[in-house]
């Protein structure tokens, strides 16, 4: 399990009160019975943790799998790291 994946699973578990063991890469937020307000809190915690901004529009919270979220975050984190030396 990548560290991003581990962190995201932990955030989902904490924010939505879902048992960590129930979360897999293939689960959708809908299957995990995550309400929209919990979903936006999950996004906020992820953004705040990595200091990144996830796309605002059409996040498809309900239908998109956790895998999609993990990949999006990994991509943004990688972009941030490659940009970091210049701005540091």
């Amino acid at each position: 399990m990548s560290s991003v994946q581990e962190t995201i699973f932990a955030i989902i578990s904490k924010e939505a009160g879902v048992d960590l063991g129930k979360i897999s890469l293939d689960s959708t937020l809908k299957e995990l019975e995550i309400q929209s307000l919990d979903a936006v809190q999950i996004i906020f915690e992820i953004e705040d943790h990595y200091k990144i901004t996830l796309p605002d529009r059409d996040p498809n919270f309900d239908t998109e799998s956790v895998k999609g979220l993990v990949e999006a975050v990994e991509k943004l984190v990688a972009e941030k790291q490659s940009a970091a030396p210049a701005s540091a």
Binding site: Q35, S36, L37, V40, I43, D56, P59
Partner: protein
Amino acid sequence: MRRVAITGMGAICALGHDASATWTAMREGRSAIGPITNIPTELLNIKVAAEVRGYDPLAHFDSKRLVLLDRVSQFALIAAREAVAQSGLDFRDDTRGERTACIIGTGIGGENSHNEQSSRFYGDRNPRVHPLAIVRVMANAPACHVGMEFGLTGPSFAVVSACASANHAMAQAFEMVRSGKVDFAVTGGTEACITVPTIKAWEAMRVTADDTCRPFCRQRRGMVLGEGAGVFVLEEYEHARARGATILAEFSGAGMSADAGDIVLPSETGAAKALAGALADARLDAHDVDYINAHGTGTPANDPTESKAIRRVFGAHADALCVSSTKSIHGHALGAAGAIELVAAIGALREGIIPPTANFIDADPECDLDYVPNVAREKPVRAVLSNSFAFGGLNAVVAIARAT
């Protein structure tokens, strides 16, 4: 039971600085949503709003007075002046002021002053906070300033219920006039919360659109923030008739309910209860209603839920109803929304013109009513309901009918 007349109307919002300019834009479906100009936008992802533009506070208040007034109180006063002038009532006459309630809703209160002081304190690390910060920020300030300007010494307070504040305030004022507790009321709602932190907070909730507000259509992407105020003079009906006042409409009823469910997700049952409550309170049959000014925020969740609630209450008559959301052009003015939208309800009633739902592209199968897309419609209107459904699951629907 006593009846209640509306004898004065005032408004300021993105559509214009008075009720008549506001109604004209509504009738034409002319949107005032556009790029934000009054505040810095570099930190914003959502860069559109329905701001009150071309507004110079000094044209309305001298600088000595202005220091006391947050933008939210300024808007309330401007709308109240228009409404009181139209009513032709002098509240300083005899005991009239004592017999008048002043109830003004706001969702947030003095957000601009709050933001300004916080910014000095945390941003500039300036430890000196303005001595009038408290009286500018307090949510009852608009009601107080309106009361002071016109000498209203009856029951006076603010009503706070997020996006339903204005309708709850007007419902309360209406009840007081109807019951005989007072003979007049100056009532409505006001909001001025387009600040960088507020918009960031709305962005974080992911319910705001980045293009424009498109209620009930398939391409809707959320709400757009607005601002402004609407204020009305309510008066015991026979008193208004006896003095020969122009009765804009009869304020005929109000229905209120709480979902006691989710803090944000709307409930069809809760909304339907408020709609049915308003009809019953106004002694109207479903068939008497020709137009509903919808809450119609343009969010994915509100619009289908509201449509289902209307269908549930109106049955087959739902298909004969015109339902439109003027938020498509003046944005969502939160605690002022119901008051600004009452201007649309009164306009429809008096002129037989239904203001359209602007920015409408394609129909959404989840929203299956007649939303009067993009173009106003001529139709005789006997009675109108105006919906407000707030975060927290607080619902308030007001009913008005043609003056007889």
